[in-house]
């Protein structure tokens, strides 16, 4: 779309790859990329200037280009129109409550500027600028940040003179676990590795109370990890587990409104002694006892009687 000659070459190469002449390699598909195809992708610019094409652009050239192509969003002075990215200013704000990260205040390398403008700008028509235009706009943005003077001309050589103010604040990560030397031969046997220590207390675990008897349902039904519910459940109880999680656990998980906590055998013994039919009746129709109130179907009238009975079976079998 943006580079029709290269798109054309690419399409042609694709068509050619269908012909049996070019089929090669272990899978018998595809075709070697031509030098021109690779050049179309190989557009990155390294911090040391590697990848910069021949060409040049001055701050003065860049001023007009910037005002025509960039200023409508980034502002005449790089101050950013509306909420578009600010390009200039913000020096000395990085360690404040409101850091303003701009080319001048934050970016470590000018190569990113050239690469990004060339690759992605202007926003509505990326890669529409010539190399000289990219040099000129890059020079002008550097000028807006007071990094270069107004008579500066940017090219492959003068690029080396550009030093970004914040570059010294970037450094190679020096934490001990990221500077190990990569082993490529005669490495230690992983089977002999030993875990010396682990880091605890990072993940919140307060909701896993093993003695609460509450099935931890934070991760779905598969984590009924509490010991007291690790009993063989009947089919009805298994079916009732999800109903319990949705409708019953609100109260029976924490003992709200006098509800016997699921898994608390002591609270359930006398209740179970009344028989399943009584428990089911209380659960389906509601019940007011001396300890608390059981709303009909737990207040969830969308449940069928069978679903409630299954949930009761789950609670009873989990609490014996």
């Amino acid at each position: 779309m943006f580079r029709s000659p290269k798109c054309g070459a690419f399409t042609a190469a694709l068509l050619m790859s269908i012909s049996p002449v070019l089929i090669a390699g272990p899978l018998g598909i595809g075709a070697p990329a031509t030098a021109e195809m690779i050049a179309g992708w190989d557009i990155d610019i390294r911090p040391d200037g590697q990848g910069l094409p021949p060409g040049a652009g001055s701050v003065a050239d860049g001023e007009g280009l910037y005002e025509a192509q960039c200023a409508s969003c980034h502002g005449l002075f790089g101050e950013g129109a509306g909420r578009w990215p600010v390009l200039a200013g913000g020096e000395g704000t990085l360690d404040t409550a409101h850091p303003e990260k701009t080319v001048g205040s934050y970016w470590p390398y000018a190569s990113t500027l050239w690469d990004y403008i060339h690759r992605a700008m202007p926003y509505p028509a990326p890669q529409s600028l010539t190399d000289d235009e990219v040099y000129a706009i890059t020079a002008y943005v550097l000028y807006l940040n007071d990094i270069v003077d107004d008579d500066f001309v940017l090219n492959q050589e003068t690029f080396q003179e550009v030093k970004m103010p914040n570059e010294p604040n970037f450094y190679i990560d020096d934490r001990p676990d990221v500077v190990n030397t990569r082993c490529m031969a005669n490495c230690a046997d992983p089977a002999l590795f030993e875990i010396v220590t682990t880091i605890n207390g990072v993940t919140p675990t307060a909701h896993f109370k093993e003695d609460s008897g509450v099935a931890a349902n934070h991760y779905g039904n598969e984590s009924s990890g509490a010991e007291s519910v690790k009993v063989a459940l009947s089919d009805a109880a298994v079916a009732g587990e999800s109903v319990h999680a949705k409708a019953c656990n609100v109260c029976h998980g924490a003992g709200i409104a006098g509800a016997p906590v699921t898994g608390d055998a002591g609270a359930w013994t006398d209740r179970i002694a009344q028989g399943m039919s009584t428990l089911n009746k209380h659960a389906i129709e509601g019940y007011v006892g001396k300890n608390g109130v059981m709303p009909a179907k737990g207040g969830n009238m969308a449940l069928s009687d069978d679903e409630v009975a299954n949930a009761v079976a789950f609670m009873v079998e989990s609490s014996q």
Partner: protein, 101 residues
């Protein structure tokens, strides 16, 4: 290198001026990390002169943002000399002259 950037363009007898002044514009109400008040430091007076004649002037105060952006228009022509200057409450002054384009 001046801290005032100015764009002045004439069109049909009207000069359109856009400018950005680098200035901290501290109100004197903020505190630094140690709880000490950051002393007020803001532009108080701003004057724009075209070939020596005042075409715009104003009083800034603490309600103006950091690095103020100022835009105004006046009658003028290409080649005029536009001078923009400010003075702040700490007695600092800054001035820049550009040709109207």
């Amino acid at each position: 290198m001046t801290t005032i950037r100015i764009k002045a363009k004439e069109r049909a007898g009207i000069v359109d001026v856009k400018s950005l002044m680098k200035h901290p514009m501290e109100t004197g109400l903020r505190k630094d990390k140690d709880g000490n008040i950051i002393p007020p430091h803001f532009i108080q007076e701003i004057v724009a002169e075209n070939n020596g004649a005042v075409v715009f002037s104003g009083s800034f105060n603490t309600s103006i943002s950091k690095d103020p952006y100022l835009s105004f228009q006046y009658s003028g022509k290409k080649g005029d000399k536009l001078t923009l200057s400010w003075a702040d409450n700490q007695g600092q002054k800054e001035s820049t002259t550009v040709d109207v384009g």
